[in-house]
């Protein structure tokens, strides 16, 4: 994976991500892939043993994966959360805010554009899974 698109210090695991259905029966799996129609909350009992959750974006316009990511982070998931599929440079900043910490786009991103996208926003209006301090908190800090 392109290092510029991974925001973690641990080593990437090499377990293949399995589907949510087979994850349910395969009790030792440590990596799973969520499709847009899957319920992220089905994974909540297993967060301790999960090292990698891939969330697939078959088309960039389907935004369900953003909610799935936040739900996992809100529940305390600390492992790798990877956006895969139709992941475009103009979406990665919002994904990062929702808790994604690695990106494996099916079409590689232009490195300079990606760097600009990740660093563009100096402030944020909402507290989300990335822990950034929202503007309202700074105003009343």
């Amino acid at each position: 994976m392109d290092d510029a698109l991974r925001f973690r210090t641990d080593e990437p695991g090499d377990d293949p991500a399995v589907t949510v259905d087979s994850f349910g029966v395969q009790t030792n799996a440590a990596a799973v892939r969520l499709e847009p129609g899957d319920d992220a909350r089905d994974l909540l009992p297993y967060l301790e043993r999960l090292k990698l959750v891939e969330i697939n974006f078959p088309g960039f316009g389907d935004g369900r994966g953003y909610s799935a990511a936040r739900i996992l982070r809100e529940a305390g998931y600390a492992g790798e959360l990877r956006a895969v599929g139709d992941v475009l440079v103009d979406q990665v900043a919002a994904m990062r805010r929702c808790g994604f910490d690695s990106f494996a786009p099916q079409v590689p991103l232009n490195a300079a554009d990606a760097e600009a996208a990740f660093n563009r926003w100096p402030e944020v209006y909402q507290p989300t899974a990335d822990g950034r301090v929202p503007i309202w908190a700074k105003r009343h800090g």
């Binding site: 960039f60 953003y66 103009d90 979406q91 929702c98 402030e123 209006y125 309202w136 105003r139 009343h140």
Partner: protein, 542 residues
């Protein structure tokens, strides 16, 4: 009104630079039109039939004179000298070049304006009561809540790719001037039994091809949970709203299909989770914002007598001004519906004139209404004649507020790539036919959409007109009995459609039935509700 601090300004400036970069990459061919489309839409840039259209946000319909002046200057500099005010209290320019769009946004940012989320499948500009802060009947000014929601919804990372667009309206009086229950979320600020303010949440309303009146989902969300509850409503929609069919993707379909009770249950469950996340701004933030919406320094004891000796002025005074909460003041409605004109259009000069009048006579404030008119919210009654004279000289004094020729119309097939039929020429013919009879016919809300998407609010018109395509020919259906007020109702189709002249004749037959059956002070809508559709049908098709 609200003023940006350095944080708000930085957000808008950043967006200008981001969009400039996106346009650059599009022109260089680094991103496809398919990929660019949602990006430009989230910035209000549509590709229409002849050119790009840019929709600029007017948050909760409130503008300063400096902002209004820039809107006029943009019309001159980048368009053909006109702006078009819309049913969501925004303004659109119909002749924009893609390469100019970043510069327009930069001009807007200088006066604390933007085009963020005026289109696309995201949370749109928050609309509100055009008389906020001036109306005699409001509980509080609803705009601080709308501003809090504006900031929360701007660039919300989870809700940038919703199943479909999402519209929120906030009001704070029982008289609903914002069609609140025809929004995806309608919020009414209310007081509970112990005198605390809170928010009644209506969710799942909308127009379009399947019009729905939003049901009440929560009668009282405390003010310090407003954002968290909104987020829960949105998350359930983002996860479970339909994405298989664009025409069934609005939240109204989700609420309708699973039922209000099940939707509410899911929202409450999500709400309980989100309450633990600490995502709610403190009440101090709401207090900070509210400071910007205190009363202007009204003159106490301002004279309330108006000289009515000029009959044209007296006509306008009675029709276009509304009682103000402050004695000695009035709310002035400026009609953008001249006889035979294009509803909502104003020239650059007219826009700048309205800006000047606001600065001089209305404490530097204007409002855009969802009926596509402009409001000067705080005018001393002693200044009304002077204001009227200035408006009259500029063709802005048509005395027709809420009358038959105060028509709402979408841009229709003259501009819009979605339309099936033209709206503007029908509107112009109706205006010319009925303007001489407007006093006789009285209050009548006439609304025209050029396609089933209902941007012209035809479902909510006392008389609605829907343009359709019938085997390649423009055809107009007639609806009766809609309303957008506190008594919201949806219009019913009379029967087979008409051609352009036929629908104008049909409207005349409908108003003749009304005038023949009217009792006492009944409006068209009241008579229709009392006597029912049949008599109208007989006259129209008999």
């Amino acid at each position: 009104m609200y003023k940006y601090d350095n944080y708000d300004q930085a957000m808008v400036d950043t967006r200008v630079e981001e969009f400039r970069d996106q346009v650059r990459r599009r022109i260089a061919g680094h991103i496809t039109e398919e990929q660019f489309k949602p990006l430009r839409l989230m910035n209000g840039l549509y590709l229409q039939l002849h050119a790009y259209m840019l929709r600029v946000a007017v948050p909760y319909g409130t503008l300063s004179s400096a902002q209004m002046r820039v809107l006029g200057d943009i019309a001159d500099k980048y368009d053909r000298g006109y702006g078009h005010f819309t049913t969501r209290q925004n303004i659109q320019y119909n002749w924009i070049k893609l390469e100019d769009a970043p510069d327009i946004l930069a001009d807007l940012a200088k006066v604390e304006m933007h085009a963020i989320q005026t289109s696309g499948n995201c949370i749109r500009n928050i609309s509100s009561d055009q008389f906020a802060g001036a109306a005699a009947d409001e509980l509080v000014d609803p705009r601080p809540y709308a501003e809090l929601l504006r900031q929360w919804s701007s660039f919300h990372p989870e809700f940038s790719f919703l199943p479909r667009k999402f519209k929120i309206a906030v009001i704070a009086s029982d008289t609903d001037r914002a069609a609140m229950r025809l929004h995806d979320i309608g919020i009414q600020i209310v007081k509970n039994d112990v005198g605390e303010l809170g928010c009644a949440f209506y969710v799942g309303g909308g127009m379009g091809r399947t019009p729905m009146i939003a049901p009440l989902v929560n009668p009282f969300v405390p003010l310090d949970q407003l954002i968290t509850f909104s987020e829960a409503c949105l998350r359930v929609y983002n996860r479970y709203g339909r994405r298989d069919n664009k025409f069934k993707a609005r939240i109204k379909i989700l609420v309708h299909e699973i039922g209000k009770d099940e939707y509410t249950r899911q929202v409450e469950e999500e709400f309980a989770q989100l309450l633990k996340q600490g995502i709610e701004p403190p009440l101090a933030e709401l207090a900070r914002i509210s400071e910007y919406f205190t009363n202007p320094p009204f003159e106490v004891g301002a004279p309330g007598q108006v000289d009515r000796s000029d009959p044209d002025f007296a006509l306008w005074l009675d029709r276009n001004t509304v009682a103000h909460k402050q004695p000695g003041y009035a709310i002035v409605n400026i009609s953008l519906k001249p006889v035979g004109g294009i509803p909502g259009d104003a020239s650059a000069d007219q826009i700048r004139l309205m800006a000047d009048l606001a600065l001089q006579y209305s404490y530097d404030e204007l409002r855009v209404t969802h009926a596509q008119n402009i409001v000067l919210p705080h005018v001393r009654q002693a200044d009304l004649y002077t204001v009227w004279q200035a408006l009259d000289a500029a063709g802005l004094s048509t005395p027709n507020l809420d009358l038959v020729d105060d028509i709402i119309a979408c841009p229709g097939l003259d501009y819009c790539s979605l339309a099936n039929a033209r709206s503007i020429p029908v509107s112009q013919k109706l205006s010319e036919r009925f303007a001489p009879r407007r006093a006789e016919i009285g209050e009548l809300k006439l609304k025209i959409s050029g396609c089933i998407n209902a941007c012209g609010h035809h479902h909510a018109g006392h008389i609605g007109i829907l343009g359709v395509d019938r085997k390649g020919v423009e055809n107009y259906q007639l609806l009766l009995g809609g309303s957008e007020g506190a008594d919201t109702s949806l219009g019913k189709i009379t029967g087979p459609g008409f051609d352009e002249d036929g629908v104008v004749d049909a409207v005349e037959k409908a108003t003749d039935v009304y005038l023949a059956h009217k009792q006492g002070g009944e409006r068209f809508l009241d008579t229709y509700r009392r006597i029912g559709m049949e008599k109208f049908k007989e006259a129209i098709y008999g």
